[in-house]
């Protein structure tokens, strides 16, 4: 990947945020409730209405911290703002004064009109459901599944990359070969195979994205590891007689973190595109719950007239702004890491 910054020894990206521990707590406070809310839904029982409450302040604090940390890069600030806008929408959706996103009210109502005692800011779709509500609710699934899928891909890719790069030899041969198989395997076949065995769900997307992305991530991490393992501090650890596992996790992992985070932001963008595309082809998330990819899919049948184009524009602009956010964030982080 050409995205790897030259400077590998001083990954200060995270250091810019004051205290990593507090940061992780905040991220967890934001992310875990959101994931639980989307994955478990009604199974949360009486907790359901309250689960997302702690995530709201966490998201706001994280946003302020991120803006402060990235203030030197306008691009990063814009990217962060876009991403956090949707994060905030995702965690506040249940508390906003929105219409039920699945309730049909008035089909084909144009934006900014009032019909049947309901004011439609962004209009209603062909089934009469409020587009504003659907757009806001729709970001939950895209965010949760997109981030989860990328995260899993990174976990697996990084582990194999570290092993292949550090242990080399047969480990490297085998892992690289398997990675090559998956890299050249038609992704579409993979998706359909998984779909057939596991049914259409977010899990399907996680596995599909993992298969499609992990080999590439593995290559990046492997390359970085090959470079870093010749450094003095790795030799020092080896002479101390540390276990390879310790060296990989403690000496190597933190040093490949910086470039990976930049790459991860880019990949989050691709993953979001992939989810939208898969959903359009009917292989990803399934109705009835609102989702941007599904909204685009529905609009492909319905929104083929000028006056109904808003049915496409609303989800398309939403998903594009999120992807743009990820991409700008990646650009900004790279810019920042080069400045360090």
């Amino acid at each position: 990947m050409a995205t790897i910054p030259a400077d590998l020894e001083r990954p200060r990206l995270l250091d810019r945020l004051t205290s990593p521990d507090a940061l992780f707590v905040l991220i967890a406070t934001m992310w875990l409730p959101l994931t639980a809310y989307v994955l478990l839904g009604r199974h949360l029982g009486p907790l359901q209405p309250y689960v997302l409450l702690p995530a709201i302040p966490a998201t706001l604090v994280l946003y302020v911290l991120a803006i402060r940390a990235f203030r030197e890069s306008t691009v990063a600030v814009i990217g962060t703002t876009l991403v956090f806008f949707w994060l905030l929408m995702a965690v506040t959706a249940p508390y906003l004064p929105l219409e039920d996103p699945n309730r049909p009210i008035a089909p084909f109502t144009l934006p900014l009109t009032e019909t049947r005692d309901h004011f439609f800011w962004l209009g209603a779709d062909g089934r009469g459901r409020d587009m504003l509500s659907r757009a806001i609710w729709g970001c939950q699934r895209v965010l949760v599944w997109g981030v989860t899928a990328t995260l899993v891909a990174y976990l697996i890719g990084t582990v194999f990359g570290l092993v292949a790069g550090y242990l080399a030899g047969w480990w490297d041969e085998i892992i690289s070969f398997v990675a090559n198989v998956f890299l050249s395997f038609p992704v579409m076949v993979l998706f359909i195979v998984i779909l057939n065995y596991l049914g259409a769900s977010g899990l399907n997307i996680v596995i599909a994205v993992t298969f499609a992305s992990a080999p590439a991530i593995m290559r990046i991490v492997r390359g970085l590891t090959l470079d870093i393992k010749t450094r003095d501090y790795v030799f020092a650890a080896q002479t101390r007689g540390e276990h390879p596992l310790y060296i990989m996790l403690v000496e190597l992992l933190p040093n490949v973190r910086g470039p990976i985070i930049v790459d991860a932001c880019l990949r989050l963008g691709y993953t979001t595109v992939a989810i939208t595309t898969l959903t359009f082809l009917g292989l990803g998330l399934q109705p009835p719950d609102p989702d941007w990819g599904l909204m685009i899919r529905e609009s492909a049948r319905v929104a083929l007239l000028w006056q109904f184009a808003y049915m496409l524009l609303v989800p398309a602009l939403s998903v594009s702004s999120l992807i743009l956010g990820f991409n700008l964030l990646a650009d900004g982080l790279r810019e920042l890491s080069l400045k360090d």
Partner: protein, 558 residues
């Protein structure tokens, strides 16, 4: 009127028509069913009621038809291995003007003779005699004879062929169980003379002509070997000029036989020079029409109606008995408890679906799968939603604290399936039932359609109300997806199916419909309309309730 001996009942019907006891449409159906040629029946109907009556196939002919031109149709172009094992209507449309059927059901849901000139049924409806049209030629120059018919029927009944015809009432009454599956009974198809063939059935069957227009029941030449598109021999006016699966199917007029002699189509004038089917997936067909690629489309869904209405051309709508059965597996918990089924049925208000899903089009379903357009439809008292009663039943069944259910939806007829189940979900919340909607790709749904405990299955239109009941709810039939088994129902249906007179049959349908309703086998919310669109210069093209293309009389005005 014909001078051939008529079935005694024809006169009865004629009297009923005159007395106003039966309507014109019903008379026409019954009379043609008894083998009066359709022209004769129409003439008779006009004679009896004093109205002028024309065959709709000949109607709307304000201008005189012009010959020539190409009709371009957007449809999925699928493979045509063997017309007897077709699995999709689209396949049969490709070959519908090449190979023909003994009978034909028109856009008005009336079945008339086609390759047969007329037919006669015995009083007990167990013996059907088909008098074949004379002078019909195969594309290779052979004469069409009764032996050809026998060859085809025997083939359909070969258990190794896997033709879905074998499941239809007519053909199910020609087989006996044997080792290696059921076998055709000796003498079930009896060739009387070269143009007369008799079907001897083990039990009364009402729907023999209708079954003979089932889409895999096209009559093939006995020299047939798959795949059909390589050397197609039919009796129809067209043959394939070009064929590529997933791309195009081009039909051209047959002008000469294989031996070089001129071929004259028995059916008289046909106007189109060519029919072109171009492959467009369901969701793209209307777009293809909008951008001028085609003159008409196979079908478009309700969600595209606003788009279609904004386009030049005429939107055609057919009232049908196509429906969605949200049926329970009556042998699987919790649906083996009739109280649970009844509670769910009571919790749904069937009255809202036509408005909410079809913008007012379509017909209300009444959970017994007989449609108002069926001749024997008996109108039961309207269904009432009963939330309190449903709650009470659930509590009685031990689900007082609420019940969580999942319905499998494949959207096999388009996204309206999901729309309908979503309405059900909202309504069922009121009775404490949490309905999860598990949407899956259509191809996946067809793998599990008869196995899932609770699923939304699409059933196509069949001309008679008894036909689908016989296929779907009779004990032990292969398509009995609900595994419903009720001796009283089977007996009542047998009786209705053995009754020729429509008024009497309608009276007998009361019991049939009531049992299905009371046993709460399904929520069957709505009968859907079918939409297509056609350019204004294309004349005499009709929307058919089963989307069968009948372009023989269509023509293009210049």
């Amino acid at each position: 009127m014909t001078d051939r001996p008529q079935h005694p009942l024809v006169h009865v019907f004629a009297r009923q028509l005159a007395d106003g006891k039966t309507d014109r449409r019903e008379f026409l159906r019954s009379a043609t069913l008894l083998g009066v040629s359709s022209a004769a029946a129409y003439a008779m109907a006009g004679h009896i009621t004093g109205e002028s009556s024309v065959d709709p196939a000949a109607a709307q002919q304000t201008d005189s038809p012009q010959s020539g031109g190409i009709l371009r149709v957007a449809m999925q172009v699928q493979k045509m291995d063997d017309p007897a094992t077709y699995s999709w209507t689209q396949m049969s449309n490709q070959s519908r003007h090449v190979v023909e059927y003994l009978a034909i059901t028109g856009p008005d849901n009336v079945t008339r003779p086609l390759l047969a000139e007329r037919w006669e049924a015995s009083d007990d409806l167990k013996t059907w005699t088909f008098f074949l049209r004379q002078g019909v030629k195969w594309h290779n120059g052979d004469d069409f004879t009764a032996d050809d018919v026998r060859w085809n029927v025997e083939r359909w009944l070969d258990p190794n062929l896997g033709s879905s015809n074998a499941g239809l009432s007519t053909f199910a009454a020609m087989v006996e169980p044997g080792d290696g599956g059921s076998r055709m009974i000796e003498g079930a198809v009896d060739v009387i003379d070269p143009h007369t063939v008799r079907f001897n059935l083990t039990k009364p069957v009402l729907s023999v002509p209708e079954d003979l227009y089932n889409y895999p029941a096209a009559i093939l030449h006995p020299s047939f070997s798959p795949p059909f598109d390589v050397d197609p021999i039919g009796t129809g006016p067209y043959t394939f000029a070009e064929f590529e699966v997933g791309s195009r199917c081009i039909l051209r007029r047959v002008t000469e036989t294989a031996t070089g002699e001129p071929f004259v189509y028995w059916g008289g004038d046909v106007y189109l020079d060519e029919i072109h089917y171009y492959n467009f997936d369901a969701e793209n067909q209307l777009t293809a029409y909008a951008s001028g690629d085609v003159d008409t489309v196979y079908e478009f869904g309700i969600e595209q109606l606003p788009l279609a209405r904004s386009l030049p051309g005429t939107v055609l709508e057919a009232r049908t008995a196509q429906t969605l059965c949200c049926r329970f597996r009556t042998d699987t918990p919790p649906f083996d408890d009739i109280r649970v089924r009844q509670a769910i049925v009571k919790g749904v208000d069937n009255g809202v679906f036509t408005d909410l899903v079809f913008l007012g089009a379509g017909d209300r379903g009444e959970n017994h799968h007989v449609a108002p357009i069926h001749p024997e439809y008996f109108e039961l008292p309207p269904l009432q939603r009963d939330v309190e009663g449903a709650r009470a039943l659930l509590a009685e069944a031990g689900h007082g604290e609420g019940l969580e259910l999942t319905i499998d939806v494949g959207n096999t007829d388009g996204p309206w399936h999901q729309a309908a189940t979503e309405i059900m979900r909202d309504q069922l919340q009121d009775i404490g039932v949490q309905l999860n909607i598990n949407v899956m790709p259509a191809s996946r749904f067809w793998e599990i359609w008869d196995e899932t405990p609770f699923g939304a299955t699409a059933w196509t239109h069949r001309p008679l109300g008894t036909m689908v009941l016989s296929l779907a709810y009779r004990t032990g039939t292969p398509w009995n997806e609900s595994k419903f088994s009720d001796a009283a129902f089977d007996a009542a249906l047998d009786e209705a199916e053995a009754t020729f007179d429509v008024d009497e049959r309608r009276a007998k349908m009361e019991a049939v419909e009531r049992i299905l309703q009371d046993q709460a086998v399904m929520v069957q919310p709505v009968f859907r309309p079918i939409f297509t669109i056609v350019r204004d210069n294309v004349r005499n093209l009709h929307a058919h309730p089963t989307v069968y293309h009948q372009y023989g009389q269509a023509w293009i005005a210049t």
